[in-house]
Symmetry: D2
């Protein structure tokens, strides 16, 4: 469980695998007074790439926060061909939720938010329907209705973008938002839009996956949370889970059983994103433990 008051730096990095790379990075942190509180690394031996997430306490770190990146660049980034992001735990991320008419994922997220389970801000909920305004009101969160039609899509997305900008949104969660986002919109938030698809991807891409699952007679149904990319339901998968069904289950039963899957799988993905434990590469994710 994340402590709320910690003051740490989080380095997510990848580079060509090379001898001594762990020693180099950990020594940099150590000699400058940082105490490592998390380190997880993974080497993709087939492609020869080294991935690492390392987090250290800043209280006695002698390099000022706003200089760490500079030092890191000078000392290591070019030399070791590092690709990295540096984040600080004290910066609380700001998350927008997009919904349509179904409330189960929204309630699950808001219940966690309000109970302080997640270190995140949720300043706004956006919907193409007014139905869930009542939920937003229960939790006292601004709710913006942006109805979308094929004709108004570009204009409405521009409006959405304005709202997101005005709230300084860092990332977006599509909590059963039943609209396909435009490529333009998606490119503004690369790997910062999390969707829940109600099937075990790549099975049943697109609309009405429970109907398709019913028709195929599967014995398990699934849900998949993934980052949104311009290819429909084809972005990097963050988390998946399944539940058992039988011949007795109608499409309505699948929908009902699926709801519990969807909300849990989406919330697990959002939590990992909040904790900055996801690294993406080649349209896949590395999800650190």
């Amino acid at each position: 469980m994340e402590k709320k008051d910690k003051n740490t730096a989080i380095l997510l990095m990848h580079c060509p695998d090379q001898p001594g790379i762990i020693a180099v990075i950990t020594e940099f942190i150590d000699v400058n007074g940082g105490n490592i509180v998390y380190l997880d690394q993974y080497v993709d031996r087939i492609n020869g790439i080294f991935y690492m997430r390392v987090e250290w306490e800043l209280d006695n770190f002698i390099i000022p926060k706003d200089k760490i990146g500079e030092y890191f660049d000078t000392l290591y980034a070019k030399r070791y061909n590092l690709n990295y992001t540096l984040k600080f735990s004290e910066k609380r991320q700001r998350m927008a939720i997009f919904v349509s008419k179904m409330s189960h994922c929204l309630y699950d997220i808001l219940a966690r938010y309000i109970s302080g389970e997640w270190d995140v801000e949720i300043p706004v909920i956006i919907s193409n329907h007014p139905d869930l305004a009542v939920v937003a009101k229960q939790f006292d969160i601004p709710f913006e209705v942006i109805p979308i039609t094929k004709e108004t899509k570009a204009e409405m997305e521009a409006r959405e973008f304005e709202i997101l900008e005005s709230y300084n949104i860092d990332f977006i969660v599509l909590a059963r938002y039943m609209q396909v986002l435009s490529e333009d919109f998606i490119r503004r938030y690369p790997h910062h839009i999390i969707n829940i698809h109600h099937s075990f991807l790549p099975a049943f891409v697109g609309a009405k996956p429970y109907h398709a699952a019913y028709d195929r007679g599967v014995k398990l149904i699934g849900a998949t949370s993934h980052y949104v990319t311009p290819d429909l339901d084809a972005g990097p998968i963050i988390e998946q889970d399944i539940t058992r069904v039988t011949h007795k289950d109608t499409v309505d039963d699948l929908v009902k059983k699926g709801r519990d899957l969807e909300k849990i799988v989406l919330s697990r993905a959002v939590e990992k994103h909040i904790q900055r434990k996801i690294l993406t590469y080649n349209n896949k994710t590395i999800v650190f433990s």
Copy 2:
């Protein structure tokens, strides 16, 4: 657990749903001295079809075994538009196993067979490669090598069919048999050939599903046992299961983790088939409990 020495009749039936149908069938069994030891039924309300599996002891049943079908036809089949099969527990089914080079499913099946877990006979194993002859020999089961090439397929399948006939085979289990059977061959054993596909169908149909799963970056891998139909990997699904994987798993790891899934999922399907608990309809299965 099935008792080996029981003497029961097993009726698998479906018909248009209609009032009183359960009463009619159960009364038929009851008034004629049959003791029902199993009854499970299911109504597909959307299509209005009634499905039932009922099993009763024959010891005091006053209708002779070889006349039950006749009586049943006369009294009920036409009147209620019943579609049924009638089986007797004392008839031990005879099962052939088809394999290629991988032994894990074969060992799992033979270990159950030899320990008496299944009420079945396995008189022959057929393979397109000689590699697993040694396993067949361990268990003292005839092993027939029928190598198959595109050119020789028709001829070799004819040879296989001869062998199956000579052993009075009732159904076939493809225990990681790496050949696609011809439509002709499949039609001789309608819903009597069980395959294990190493993916969560309908995801990753066809060859090399673990490679495809790896490339897609899924977080779960699956296995699916199904009856073979002329459409590749599209027959009625009997059983599915999954296991969790992470970014750390290479294709080889998926193959390895998948093996345990494959053998368990295949054996569960074979057991249900042996117990005559599977009814097929509309390219789906009803698997009774």
Copy 3:
């Protein structure tokens, strides 16, 4: 999925197993104009007991609703030594929720309730702490604070009972209510109080199961919903589930992972109870599908 507007009778029964019992009951329904929409039965062969749940439409049933029990008694109950309950779908059950300070199970229940997922009324929430009044207010449900100490227990439970009576409560859900109910109180609601225990019972009975699980070094943690009986955590189990943990998980992590388990496992049990699909016997449950 349950249709809200259906008008059915639900018979839950058990009796000594005897030939023809299914035929007798189904014929009674059939000849009197009832259309069976659900039938599931189970025979405990070891103890020779027959259990059945049967549900039929009342629209054309010729026996008036308030006479069905009488007819059933006269015709069958004594003759077949039946033990049964008869319920009607149009009677909406009334459920009270007991909570302490944790909100996750409460939110999960209320989100389902408010979205119309469950055919139930929730007229009151009772708590020994004021903390969750704010949640009750979000959903506009009366919230009664009844603080309990060892000294005041009898008096406070009497007060709770008064409230429950005033709201005509049919059954109670303990949604992480951190008080042990007295035997007297429990006996007023036999198998009508559902609890969620945060372990895989019977492992880790009593207080602080996550601490105990951590200390034992288990690789899975569980949650168990059960009917409350005077023996602590020993009532009939309705539903259980587990999630995987590793050596990396602290007690706080177990608590966090456990929350998702608890809410889902509790809600599954509550739903089965609402649907009148649970039969209890010998301190066990039969949960019909």
Copy 4:
């Protein structure tokens, strides 16, 4: 998947958590020409202990294999208060299997062994019953029958120990061996005897767990593999898993469903042990990925 021909050193270590410890160890490997192929570490923050498994290729390592321990002691062990074991991949471990009458775990292990899935030698199987001699013969492995009674236990265990010594056995797998080993015997193989218990420990310790599970009316049954310690079923847990059961399952059904669980859970534990990925501490395990 383990490559069979690799030449690596495997260091399993723990020590008081201290800044720079990763850098120190990884640098030692790096500067001496070792290429790290695996590193996983874990910090128990509550108790302040650092655990690590690191594996590196020896091909260009400048310290000779038989000197690595000495150098490591001199340079680091005392200074950092390290507790470590050093293993070499080229040393194939030798494993003995103890069985009684049930064959499912034995077959599962031998099928993996014979197919080359595990980098291990199995030179002998020991049993207190002659029943499974036929299985040993199928796989051409010596089978020693050592019948045990209360009176002969000490003597028979001495005989077992002799056999194990004669085969240079490194560790023992109890594949449903139905005898309790003496404390003396266990102390000769500290955390080198792996047992499979047919319950979700700590529920249902001791004899007949499936009967106890049936009596309690659980909805899931489990299996637990653990290192054997003198306290019955209380040693460090390596792996656990569960499967769903219902009120329909008799004790015999639980036994049958449990068999699949037992064999898979035991084999997963044995594999982790073979790969030297298990570290024990405080009666718990750290199982590296």
